[in-house]
Symmetry: C2
Subunit: 320 residues, 2 copies
């Protein structure tokens, strides 16, 4: 939950004067997003989300994120649409931070997804991959495999406080992943963070995708592997093959997975688990004992990683 920057009514009124969405009626900081400050803004014409980009987001990446949302929306993906100002720009400044205003999406995120939710996510992810195919901008995955060893180096000194032996296990796994990592699978725009809190439902229907601030250009099947990790495990950290099968089959119906992509699923799933294990570990170690806001527990991804390491073949994910 995050509001890092206080925004005054004057700041916001000044910013909105450059937009054609009516005058400000109210705004509230919302407890969502960990990288940016987010506000729900109510004007004469409706509800919007204002995002102030804090220092963890590189300002140079913002045109990619905003351009991508606009592109996807134009291709029929329901996602927040950046509102343009009178000069046609999507980026302004509020309280000294780069800021953008996007349309508000109705919908609820699902705390305990069922196989039917997983199927809906698989389909939406494949549609997103197809819709992104003709997006012209590129952005390297800042949390791709090249970043993992540097992240590990940050966590190494105190990583074993989370679990004795964790650091040696990560070190060994990173060496294995570097050897096995596929390089020539189909690339394109990936969401890279399509966790349940970034997918909205209304009733049983998926109603929208949000939070494109990790989106980048990488292997499409890595995005699938992120979703298997995020959607198809039970609270006891066991993989639920019924959910996995639902997600993979729905994906495959919209965008058929190539044989090489299917075969690579186990190593991609290990890599995806490693990516979230490492960022959670770094965040966990950065927060002092007793802090009011607890970051997410890295051990969840330690356990998921070990589950993937024991997989015999892609079939174990329910792909066939």
């Amino acid at each position: 939950m995050a509001v890092y920057t206080d925004v005054t009514a004057d700041d916001l009124t000044r910013f909105l004067a450059d937009y054609d969405i009516g005058s400000l009626r109210s705004y509230k900081g919302i407890a969502e997003g960990v990288e940016n400050s987010n506000f729900l803004v109510h004007t004469d014409t409706g509800n919007f989300i204002l995002t102030l980009y804090e220092k963890r987001v590189a300002a140079g990446d913002l045109p990619f994120f905003l351009g991508l949302m606009e592109h996807l929306a134009s291709r029929g993906i329901t996602c927040p649409q950046p509102v343009k100002n009178r000069q046609g720009g999507m980026l302004g400044t509020v309280a000294g931070r780069p800021a953008a205003i996007v349309t508000f999406l109705d919908g609820l995120w699902i705390r305990r997804p069922t196989a039917s939710h997983c199927a809906a996510v698989g389909e939406a992810l494949a549609r997103l991959h197809l819709a992104g195919a003709d997006f012209k901008m590129k952005r390297a995955n800042a949390l791709g495999i090249e970043s993992w060893r540097p992240l590990y180096e940050q966590a190494k000194a105190r990583g074993d406080s989370v679990r004795p032996g964790l650091c040696a296990d990560i070190d060994k796994e990173l060496t294995t992943l570097a050897k096995l990592w596929p390089r020539d699978l189909p690339h394109g725009v990936i969401h890279a963070d399509l966790f349940p809190d970034n997918v909205f439902f209304l009733g049983d229907s998926l109603s929208g995708l949000i939070d494109f601030y990790f989106a980048c250009t990488d292997m499409l099947s890595f995005d699938v592997a992120v979703c298997l990790n995020a959607w198809c495990f039970e609270p006891d950290h066991s993989y639920n093959v019924t959910k996995g099968r639902a997600l993979l089959k729905s994906y495959d119906k919209v965008r058929a997975l190539e044989p090489a992509e299917r075969a690579a699923l186990p190593v991609l799933a290990r890599g995806a688990a490693m990516r979230f294990l490492l960022t959670r570990l770094v965040d966990w170690l950065a927060v002092p004992d007793g802090a009011l806001v607890k970051p997410k527990d890295p051990r969840e991804y330690d356990r998921k990683l070990r589950c993937h390491q024991s997989v015999k073949s892609a079939d174990d994910y329910g792909i066939n």
Copy 2:
């Protein structure tokens, strides 16, 4: 900022089934309130605020708070109105917490109030006092003068870490306040926490009052003294007599202050400063070093208290 309890879509859907406000379209935890968890809820019929009462709020006080909001709204005060469920009740349960849903108020709170905002607040406070006159329920002020020494005892061991000598000064002031504290001034319903973030404006007009969770039965003029502390100081902690005069004159036009209330203003202002100094001090000392969420700085009220101690008479507040 506060969301202490995670609410699932299922929890909330189940809760709303008992209300006649349409079906759930979205909800977001909002970064407001320090005692409770608050959510902005959007249904087919509009926007609402859902509050989950956390353990710092005594469940036995909730009928007072909710009844008061309903009473004041019926007397023309613009404040959130509790929505009644199908049984006519205002209180339910969400995620194991007592919970209530109230109407959403448009409006913005003013970070840097002017004398004209202070005048509007003075008038609104007096109207609130008049509207509360025939409210039948009573609630003792849990943060009234009787609570101050026990709060001080909690903070005593480490209070001087905030300012050397602070504890001795508080101890001495508490003794003085106990001697000088008025007892027979007009009593009634007071808001007790009418800080700028609890007063909404639209344009130059005051559009509503929120957060009645410190409301209680106490001296009306103590509420005036809280507002003088909260609204009429500059960022350098100097008292702005123009703002004070604006607030007091507007109040007095709607509800004339009795001579004894006017005369008591300096000691009431000291008491009000002491109340916020003590609660901020206790909160400040309870949070570990380096925590992400910093409580409000108690030193602001230490400085205000010293300012009030140097006042010669009520005239210094701009009352005449």
